[in-house]
């Protein structure tokens, strides 16, 4: 199910503002890739271009190419809605739909697109997705209760279940643990390790220990000064980034000398 992502010479703009400059990288299938870097350096912006979610913000546009298994996402005949069905996303703050029950939340991707699904298939999909998100045992007795009644960590895992229920190729996570306590964070990190068996996972994090714990490859984003575009400084295996970085800026950042 997982696919590789190739980004070539990608520039991102918000209106006249050049947000991210000239990114080229390849993301391997069945791996976890982490993006680290100081606030405002464009890592979240870059992540959102991988499923065209940045287009939700008025004035946002990109130049360059993002290819998933060779298919350019920004080719003229590609519908952003189709892209998002292949590339799922989990956000910083857990955002289950407040009008829906836990089960309806998991099935939201199917139901909101009015695909027909039989009651039995719906039950199976719910269980599979919730098991995939390590949440089944905690909620199996209250699937009809509202999703907003869960704890923050459970809500975030519900959002992951919702994302994997549409069977995407890639899962993007934008600081998925920044609103959670350490125990819930651990649960999510374990989950990320399991998800990479089936999916390509890309995660943005402010927590360098987290990047070191969960990721196979790490990209370090930085910006020279406020108002300048952010850029990809270094992209390598997590081992190398944290133990033996080739750039001085990377070493300064991971050793806490700035940022």
């Amino acid at each position: 199910m997982s696919k590789r992502i190739d980004v070539t010479d990608l520039d991102i703009f918000y209106g006249d503002f050049h947000a991210v400059k000239d990114v080229t990288m390849s993301i391997e299938p069945r791996s976890v890739t982490a993006f680290i870097g100081p606030s405002g350096c464009g890592k979240s912006t870059f992540l959102r271009t991988l499923n065209r979610m940045h287009e939700v913000i008025p004035g946002a546009r990109v130049e360059g190419e993002v290819a998933i298994d060779g298919q350019n996402l920004y080719a003229r005949n590609v519908d952003p809605v189709d892209v998002r069905r292949q590339v799922g996303m989990v956000f910083q703050r857990p955002n289950p739909f407040p009008t829906m029950s836990i089960k309806e939340n998991v099935l939201a991707g199917v139901r909101l697109n009015s695909k027909r699904i039989s009651g039995k298939a719906a039950d199976e999909l719910t269980e599979k997705a919730l098991r995939g998100a390590n949440l089944w045992n905690e909620v199996k007795d209250r699937l009809d209760k509202p999703g907003s009644g869960l704890s923050g960590g459970q809500q975030q895992r519900l959002c992951i279940a919702r994302a994997i229920a549409i069977q995407p190729e890639v899962i993007l996570m934008d600081e998925p643990c920044s609103a959670l306590d350490p125990i819930s964070t651990l649960a999510i990190e374990d989950l990320i390790n399991e998800l990479k068996v089936d999916y390509t996972v890309v995660i943005v994090t402010h927590n360098m220990q987290q990047a070191a714990r969960v990721s196979d490859k790490t990209g370090f984003f930085n910006l020279e000064a406020t108002g300048k575009p952010g850029e990809l400084v270094e992209y390598d295996t997590t081992q190398n980034i944290f133990n033996n970085p080739s750039q001085q800026a990377t070493e300064d950042y991971i050793s806490g000398r700035f940022g």
């Binding site: 499923n51 979610m53 939700v56 008025p58 809605v81 189709d82 892209v83 998002r84 069905r85 292949q86 799922g88 996303m89 956000f91 703050r93 955002n95 289950p96 739909f97 407040p98 009008t99 939201a108 991707g109 139901r111 909101l112 697109n113 009015s114 209250r142 209760k145 509202p146 907003s148 009644g149 869960l150 959002c159 919702r162 994302a163 549409i166």
Partner: protein, 387 residues
């Protein structure tokens, strides 16, 4: 409560902020304010009430003037007393508190007075089954005179006006809710910040201020253009006039409700590969449903009592007219207005006034029912929380 009363008397250490305590910082003076209970205020209030009574009954002042004068005395006494026992801040606190209560009473008194009068004058006739089931067809001043003399029973009711009110307001709702709701959706979801969006919002603001008689004249002129001046008066014309007044309210209410739907929910749906229109229809609107429904109900309550535009656009019918596409109709507000200004029998006004008050009471009850309905809808549709 643990208050650090015994702090070690260490000398204020200059640079180390972690070891200095608040007590050590020089320049903080103990408060001059002393707590003061509410008993003095109650005593002064009682004294002021006595003063008001004396002014009213003893000196023959008008009751409102007596109350106002004693309130001013009360304010002065409160300030002086609390300044002495509590200090300046406590005095100002009590002074402002009294003014806030005063403002509240000023706002409630007219409302309570209206309700009191309408119920007192209208309750006798409004719940009479005959009044609720009869129209004014064939009822003349002669019937009223006979009723006043006691030789005949009370005839004539507001059945046609009740039905007319429901029909015309219902039609107006059918016209304005789709238009207003879609405008609000455009403003929030598509045209936010754009030039067209700003233009529409400005026009909606202007529409909010349209005098209701202008809306009535507009509808009448419009229907005269289409049907000719003879056949222009019909229920639909009234519904159009009411829609002109209702649409801006619906737009503003709905816009407000859609705007507070968190953006994260839209992003969550879009990220699941849901098209934008479906995101709006299945996520944004259900999340805002309770607010939208109660906003619409309040907009209905706002126009249900309109008189002037209906007078112009649909005229005045004595009998029941079920067809809003042909001929004059009647509504409760117009009915009350006519019964008050043009009594059936100029010599014996009482029966007509009785009808006017009863219609007014029914109208007030309708509005209260709508408000309660809005609250009910708001709680029924509200997003579920809890475990």
């Amino acid at each position: 409560m643990s208050t650090p009363t015994q702090t070690p008397a260490s000398p204020p250490s200059g640079g180390d902020i972690h070891h200095s305590r608040l007590d050590d910082v020089s320049g903080i003076v103990p408060s001059q304010v002393h707590p003061a209970g509410r008993r003095p205020a109650l005593v002064i209030a009682g004294a002021s009430a006595v003063v008001a009574l004396v002014l009213w009954l003893g000196l023959g002042l008008h009751v409102a003037a007596a109350l106002l004068l004693s309130f001013v005395l009360y304010l002065g006494a409160i300030y002086v007393t609390y300044r002495r026992i509590g200090g300046a801040r406590v005095a100002v606190d009590h002074l402002v508190r009294s003014l806030v209560y005063f403002a509240f009473v000023c706002a409630v008194v007219p409302l309570a007075s209206v309700l009191w009068t309408v119920i007192g004058q209208g309750a006798g006739r409004a719940f009479d089954p005959d009044f609720l089931s009869q129209t004014m067809n064939g009822v003349t001043g002669l019937n009223d005179q006979q009723y006043a003399e006691g030789s005949a029973g009370f005839v004539g009711g507001a059945y046609h006006a009740i039905m007319g009110t429901l029909l015309i307001t219902g039609l107006a709702t059918l016209i304005s809710v789709p238009i207003g709701m879609f405008t609000a959706i455009y403003l929030v979801e598509y045209g936010a910040g754009g030039r067209l969006g700003r233009g529409i919002r400005f026009l909606v603001d202007v529409m909010t201020g349209i005098p209701s008689i202008v809306a009535g004249l507009f509808a009448f002129a419009l229907f005269t253009q289409i049907f000719g001046i003879r056949d222009a008066k019909m229920g639909l014309a009234g519904a159009v006039a009411l829609s002109v007044l209702m649409i801006p309210t619906v737009v503003r209410n709905s816009e407000e409700m859609l705007r507070i739907v968190p953006n994260e929910l839209r992003e969550a749906a879009l990220a699941l590969g849901v098209p934008k229109w479906r995101t709006i229809a299945k996520v944004v609107l259900p999340t805002a449903a309770s607010g939208l429904a109660s906003g619409v109900t309040l907009a209905i309550a706002r126009v249900i009592g309109e008189t002037a535009p209906l007078l112009v656009a649909i005229g005045y019918a004595r009998g029941l007219n079920w067809n809003p596409f042909d001929g004059p109709m009647n509504t409760l507000a117009v009915y009350a207005y006519f019964m008050f200004t043009k009594p059936l029998s100029p010599a014996v006004r009482e029966p007509s006034l009785e009808r006017a008050w009863a219609a007014a009471l029914l109208l007030v009850l309708l509005v209260i029912a709508l408000n309660l309905l809005a609250r009910l809808i708001a709680t029924l549709f509200a997003p579920k929380t809890g475990r």
